[in-house]
């Protein structure tokens, strides 16, 4: 059973796109939130969530099971996924 994967991204960000591409290529199921496309109200709520995971609140913030990975770090992502 795959551990839950959730990513916080920006629709305009290339590192975020690379992250989605890698997960797609590895056939990993994931949830994503493009934070820049949210309403201001939704954005505030989500930013608080991101800040708890990654105090710098940068994108992508990647949650794989209990691991939080900041930025498109392919080695760390693959390791956390057990690939």
């Amino acid at each position: 059973m795959q551990q839950p994967v959730k990513i916080y991204t920006l629709s305009t960000c290339s590192h975020c796109r690379s992250t989605k591409k890698l997960l797609d290529e590895c056939n990993v199921k994931y949830e994503f939130t493009d934070v820049d496309l949210l309403s201001d109200e939704e954005k505030k709520i989500i930013i608080e969530d991101v800040r708890k995971l990654n105090p710098q609140c940068t994108f992508p913030t990647i949650v794989i099971g209990n691991n939080v990975i900041v930025g498109f770090d392919e080695t760390k992502i693959r390791k956390a996924l057990g690939l």
């Binding site: 920006l10 305009t12 960000c13 934070v35 201001d40 930013i47 710098q56 609140c57 940068t58 930025g71």
Partner: protein, 111 residues
């Protein structure tokens, strides 16, 4: 403005200052499309790799080229987005490390 037009315009402006586009042109064009999206959305070319506040004054440090480009290219050979890089970075003479966010967390992001 069309993305190729922006590419040529910025290249001519930035290369003489020692800032080169990454040699990965697809990557560069994606970022430039992000800049054009942000220009339409916020009316200024905010960094597409960071969340803008919609307030030009608050975002002035992340209007591309951001104020962090110079120290990031100096230290890592690349800006945060891997858009502007040094000649050495493009020639693989220095390692391509993930550039950490230099902007302070109090500023990032202000909504």
């Amino acid at each position: 403005m069309e993305v190729n037009e922006l590419y040529e315009m910025l290249r001519k402006m930035q290369e003489p200052k020692g800032y080169f586009f990454s040699r990965d042109k697809d990557w560069v064009l994606e970022i430039l499309r992000g800049l054009l999206t942000n220009k339409e959305r916020y009316s200024y070319m905010s960094c597409p790799c960071r969340l803008a506040s919609r307030d030009r004054e608050k975002d002035k440090d992340i209007i591309c080229p951001c104020v962090y480009r110079a120290p990031d290219v100096k230290e890592y050979g690349s800006c945060y987005c891997n858009l502007y890089v040094s000649k050495e970075w493009n020639d693989d003479k220095i390692p391509h490390v993930y550039v950490p966010e230099r902007r302070s967390s109090e500023k990032n992001p202000i909504i």
